[in-house]
Symmetry: C2
Subunit: 494 residues, 2 copies
Amino acid sequence: MFETLEVGKRIKNSDFKERELPLRQKLLAVQFELAEHDYPIIIVVAGLDGAGKGSLVHRLNEWMDPQGIETNTYWEHSDEEESRPFFWRFWRRLPARGQIGIFLGSWYTKPTQAAVDEEMGSEDFALHCKQIEVFERMLSDDGTLIIKLWLHVSQDAQRLQLEETAPGKQQNPRVTDTPYNLHGKYKKVIEVCEELILDTDSSHSPWHLIEAQDRHYRDITAGEIILKAMQARASHQTPDAGAQEVIETDPAGPQPTVLDNVDLSKTLDRDDYKIKLAKYQSRLQDLAWQAYRQKRSVVAVFEGWDAAGKGSAIRRVTRAIDPRLYRLIQFAAPTDEEQAHHYLWRFWRQLERDGRCTFFDRSWYGRVLVERVEQFATEDEWQRAYSEINQFEQQLVEHGSIVLKFWIHISKDEQIQRFKAREQEAHKRHKITDSDWRNREKWHDYEVAIDQMISHTSTRHAPWALISGNDKPYARIQILKTFCKSMKRALDTE
Amino acid sequence: MFETLEVGKRIKNSDFKERELPLRQKLLAVQFELAEHDYPIIIVVAGLDGAGKGSLVHRLNEWMDPQGIETNTYWEHSDEEESRPFFWRFWRRLPARGQIGIFLGSWYTKPTQAAVDEEMGSEDFALHCKQIEVFERMLSDDGTLIIKLWLHVSQDAQRLQLEETAPGKQQNPRVTDTPYNLHGKYKKVIEVCEELILDTDSSHSPWHLIEAQDRHYRDITAGEIILKAMQARASHQTPDAGAQEVIETDPAGPQPTVLDNVDLSKTLDRDDYKIKLAKYQSRLQDLAWQAYRQKRSVVAVFEGWDAAGKGSAIRRVTRAIDPRLYRLIQFAAPTDEEQAHHYLWRFWRQLERDGRCTFFDRSWYGRVLVERVEQFATEDEWQRAYSEINQFEQQLVEHGSIVLKFWIHISKDEQIQRFKAREQEAHKRHKITDSDWRNREKWHDYEVAIDQMISHTSTRHAPWALISGNDKPYARIQILKTFCKSMKRALDTE
């Protein structure tokens, strides 16, 4: 889930200066409005060590009116705190209605550290996450607006920070003199944090993940998230307040996304393709029978840009598998019956039984892609969908299913060439519709949605595979290979 | 928590006939309204074996229009269901918008049975409860109205049912021919069910506990609960629908409450009192020092009717304890600062540290008593408070605190005599205010609120003690004795 946070999002010095002032003015304006409203705001600043949590809090205090803000830190030991139930230390520091409380070090700090140091078992950790969820829900039911920011840095950037060898301007102030004992623990930290974020990401207090390598990007993005959340709440409180400001998808200007990390130049020559196709298809055939014998089901999702070659790639996969063992589900618009149920219902009902494969040509991810971009779903609905989808896939995995998710990526240029080619070929002309052209206009909105989809739903138990799709043969082999590898890892291979 | 469900609530045959027809008409009316609205309803019928779940479902089908209702049962094994993730069997049977789905045997059945048979560990069980909570939230976020009914019968009544020796008219039809293997498991079942209910009781899908011994009371109460929930939702959907029907606190007519089980005739003579007072006070003194040495804190809540003798009882407790070891908190109206926070904040901030006692003369239970009856809190707020309070007390217990809760009960006659006596004594006259007289008028509403408070918050880790208070000496000794017993059990006594 953190792959979207290592793509080099940044804001230039000159842009930062331009953006800072209006952002600050707007933040102050909503802050003053808050004092008239009857609810408190909690801003949780969490994330990896060396990501600049302290610097960000400085900045927020600088941007807003310190009168209405209290910053709470939890890093020194206090026996007063230790001698009460864990949440006492936070209850006593909760902001009053009309006030903002920034928590630098929060209810997330202690369980994360304990889990990383393996002082806390995984069940205990899950229980802690549940308690956090209950605590936040209690506050949010009472009206508190909770804004949770997670700052991420790559392993290399963290090392530079902690060794204090980061480039001058990017350097973050250090909290303690004693060096952190994080050596060699980055992978473990990432695992624990993924679980923490998934377990505590909810519609009433969602996590906002921020790439924190570039301090300008980090600060502006955090500020825009806070602004947007406060504006949304304020307009909710006063429905007659007039036209709502349209919220940009891209508050910090166009930024690279995780898709930019896909190398689209990869190709495979014809002969090589034939050899590999035969090899992986025969391997997949075996694996599908093994899964059948072991009563493990496979749930595979295929998503991608229009004309990315989804259909032909799926055919290469299904051809390898005995027709008794799989079913391919293609999704058109939902039926009346489907529309009368929860949106996940139409996917649940299609699941094949143990030992079989279910292939989804387009899937539940429509909610956070096309339904989001085309505004068929409300913001509340698609925001909520991330955790609903994660729950759904987790239930599949816990039952023993192998969950695979492919996004086939192509460039915008490649797409236009394929559209044109299709129009010229009689038997493919039907594949191009007006909506394809319309979707194309929203290319950038989709990029943002895909980026957020990956960051919220690419999990260890059900990871996304990003497929380089400009060269179709290369894409197909990549998919088959990933398919075989994942199945092999999941099955007790003979 | 089940003590409130064994007090002999019943409806006479003639009353039943009178109540049935109007209830049925109203149920049909809201059901037809539902078809115009855009949400589904799920009715979960759960509870102990032999409580008449099947009979109730029959009745509901008889009362409402079967066209819009589908009853789903889960009692036979299906390999189709087993070969998909657990929740698949429920997803496929979810009612469509405008429809009602009754679930007899539901997502609660399997984990409960597994926990009773000790096939499932307590952590796994807690995880299951969490998944249930997530599942229900997902549906409720999507608009589903979830009504959960829990039918309870006493151990004796259950035995009569299962042996089919219950009196003719009360007998419930049996589902299977094979006798239930519940012999000797009643206590274990009750423990598992308490945890299940506490863990899955939420404001979006609260549990309604019903005493099911008397089939008339059971059916009318269930019908009224469903009616009320549907009316509340319908009026929520159409806010302009005009005056909302006032919801009675007592849909099935005045019924006995758990307070009726308190034997108010108990007395203690003067000499006996003095001996016992000295004995338990000295024991308590020791125990308080032991708790100090073991760094265990005590949180004790004193609640009761006006003039029940709370103050003087508390003094008998505090006199036994070294003043360095305890603090007594009395609650007047909340301060401005307190009112600007979540209502639990003012209690959290008062907690003493490990090894100390905190006594609350009136407490967080005000939310579900006076604030409920006087309508200072909305129904949503006080309904939510049950699970918030349970969470709070569970955190105290998990931290190592000993939680004690006393309700001092007196009769309405005894209260009036004490009021009059107070008015005649100069030094006690200030203790009687107009609000005391006003509260007295709402005696019955308070009885209902107390009954529900006990059923939702009397838990194994923090049970309520109901104190017989008509005789003050008797009440004081009871409190001291309970205090000592609970502390002794909780401490590693030397």
